[in-house]
Subunit: 508 residues, 2 copies
Amino acid sequence: MSATPAAYAALLERAAELADLRGIGALLWWDQSTKMPDAGARSRAQQVETLERITHHKATDPEIGRLLDELEPWAGSLDPDSIEARALNAVRRDFEKAVRVPDDLAAEMAGAAALGEQAWMRARAAGEFRLFRDALARQVELRHRYTILFPEAEHPYDVLLDDYEPEATLAEIRPLFTELREGLLPLVAQARGDGDGPAEALPGAIPAASQEAFMVELLRAHGYDPRAWRLDATVHPFAMSIGVGDTRLTTAYLATGLDMAFWSCLHEYGHGLYESGIDTALRRHPLGSTVSLGVHESQSRMWENAIGRSRPFCEWVTPRLATAFPDYFDDLAPDRLFRDATRVRPSLIRIHADETTYNLHIVLRLDLEVRLFGGDLRVDELPEAWDAGMHELLGVEVPDVSHGVLQDVHWGAGLMGYFPTYALGNLMSAQFWATLRRELGDVDGMLAQGDTAELREWLRERIHRHGRTFPARELLRRVTGEELQVQPFLRYLRQKLADAGHLGAGAA
Amino acid sequence: MSATPAAYAALLERAAELADLRGIGALLWWDQSTKMPDAGARSRAQQVETLERITHHKATDPEIGRLLDELEPWAGSLDPDSIEARALNAVRRDFEKAVRVPDDLAAEMAGAAALGEQAWMRARAAGEFRLFRDALARQVELRHRYTILFPEAEHPYDVLLDDYEPEATLAEIRPLFTELREGLLPLVAQARGDGDGPAEALPGAIPAASQEAFMVELLRAHGYDPRAWRLDATVHPFAMSIGVGDTRLTTAYLATGLDMAFWSCLHEYGHGLYESGIDTALRRHPLGSTVSLGVHESQSRMWENAIGRSRPFCEWVTPRLATAFPDYFDDLAPDRLFRDATRVRPSLIRIHADETTYNLHIVLRLDLEVRLFGGDLRVDELPEAWDAGMHELLGVEVPDVSHGVLQDVHWGAGLMGYFPTYALGNLMSAQFWATLRRELGDVDGMLAQGDTAELREWLRERIHRHGRTFPARELLRRVTGEELQVQPFLRYLRQKLADAGHLGAGAA
């Protein structure tokens, strides 16, 4: 291999600048969702738009193309598995995608996101779809304008999907979603007969400050370091890395119980561990970001479900809950927590859905998005299509739009093509989890002790540290030896539901 | 006047972009000072540097010069008092200043600020000037290199001063500072005989959360709106507008008493009102920022001192203090609070200085800065010169550098030429305040009722809304009919000290 050329160093410098700008963008978003006074929304939208225009302009600087061309001969001499070769591929991929999009459209999409979110919030609070209709139509129109910039795509939806799950296509994922739906429907039918149980696994009028103190303490036992992390309150929990040593989780503290904070903190912690686990040497580097939202979600769902909603974790956490909140959880038995935390209960709201019915919510959203961008569904028809889908897939009747089509922020914020990554993440999570259990040995024993050090190191070493060095499917193959599949997830679910007694005796 | 040309619109668009970038920079700073986990410091420094490089690059784009030149004939046809003419002057002024500074020097100054601040922190903690010496020498050297880029300046110090108090010169302010010193020295000598009194006016081991709740409640009575403002804890209080409808105050809650939070909240509220009061139509416009740090400080000192440390305000707030904190202030009399809050007590630390001795701290700093940049003082001689000045001006002996030359962050951060604006602000504040009292009538009556609505409207209408439409001296003339003067401030002080009984009977 020849010596590293100056043009490569120049590309790395540009990547570092773009990474800084994206970190700044992350901070703007975090602030807006946690701290910004409401009246600041319009100014913030302008700032976000300006930052996006500058970032996009820099990401599409023709000089990047020139540097890539200049490096072609050198690239040809590299080991294709080398960091340099991978980095050049990533830079070329990003550049060739970005240059298709005019600066103005990029800025418009960024600005419309903030405003669309505001419209969504008002509409949901009022329970009126018409207050959201125009903002949504604008988002769909902007995304239409975006998809036609990539005429080579087999389906317009592939263009949207690729932004969140690079290289995934509708042709790849549609059969997986069909198999998932066909596997889930009978499982839900079998398990939902298990009675009603409590609406929440951890009910109780616990003050927000006590919930927060408990969650920070819990996460600290699993590696959360206050010198490098934050936990803040928000409406819709999310996790975000602003930079090295600056990982921020958010959650919501409800007056009705600990469930929201408990499960969402575990979930967001999985996201945060992934972002913070990227090799420091890769930060501000073309490979220094997460590889796909599917892989991202595989990590969060693993912490929320495979770890959090496991019998041994419930055994570890139950006495801690009893100590922290004796008024509410003094007589809580680990088996009872495990059973309630895994109960199957078709319901209206995705983010409160149990682990089993959850993916049916995603099946519906993929179907609606594909019809919307395939020209088979108009924006005005969405609420009705939503309600029909909920009836068909989950057997529930939607009482109003706030509990139906308006429940998620995504479409208002322009995040179309994003939802499927939740289900893809669940599938990958099951495959990663099975591999981890096989390789680490007595994982249940570790979880029962509340000891996740080895488990976290495995995740960091095998998945997190690589950033986007390996595309998602390659990463999955390297870690598990498998292609993306549905059956490991269904197996994982069946076994857990049987273990928790939700399928009746011997049903696994 | 001819129709607005496209080149003017193009300049406005560039100004809007720069305003957005500065709002983003403000957020980065605010976050770093209030929320960022410690371990995020390095990444944040990189983000700040990237943002500053981009901002400086945009502020010096030769296209701005071209647009200005193209607009010359049109500008000649404008009423010089029109917004358009004023805006063009502001754009030209900013551009011609910025293009003098090479990118490298701008970047070096930005980098040295972060490093200098760190060196200062370590040196102050250790109480050793030698740990700060090199960083300070570097700042002085960088500022020397900066000042020689403006060879037309009468004194190198004018170049530094102009960054914070545009158009002010040493020739203008030096006589004012001499007059100020000559007026203050006898006043301090007369008033300091008034015994020791308590070290704090509002002592008490009040929990931070209770201090915060009280201060928010107090500010709300004077127009603080939680939908558009925030109040957060930090080490060194500051105020910052991130955008329209997003004004952020910070304060510190000490375990020893309410003083720090109380006076700094009033002070920062004055800053915040100024920034938030700029006409919304001027935001993202060349005239949409504050005009000078002196005018800025005139507003903060007015709220802290002219309002906060007035007899009628003390009368209004005392029963509120007693209700909120009966353990500490149940028997606090308004007259006692007023007396303690105005007591003259020569001391070592500027930010804790009383209203009367405060400006002597500034007199010293100006003297040292001018000697440093006039070539009459070397960096190594600073500690000794500091101690001698403190002895001469305030009659106090400096026990160590942490309570002496190392007490302020400014020099480490490269903020040289900044200190005089504090005193200029005090002078302007007295002139504005006298005018306001003359025009509004029974201001004392309003303050005794805790009613500042009319007063705030006067400040907004006469000062805040104009942004930087009028240069500072012109603004002062327009509002007060006066040039910048020392005597109104001395008169204001003498009267207050007499009223509080600090000068003995009939001394006013």
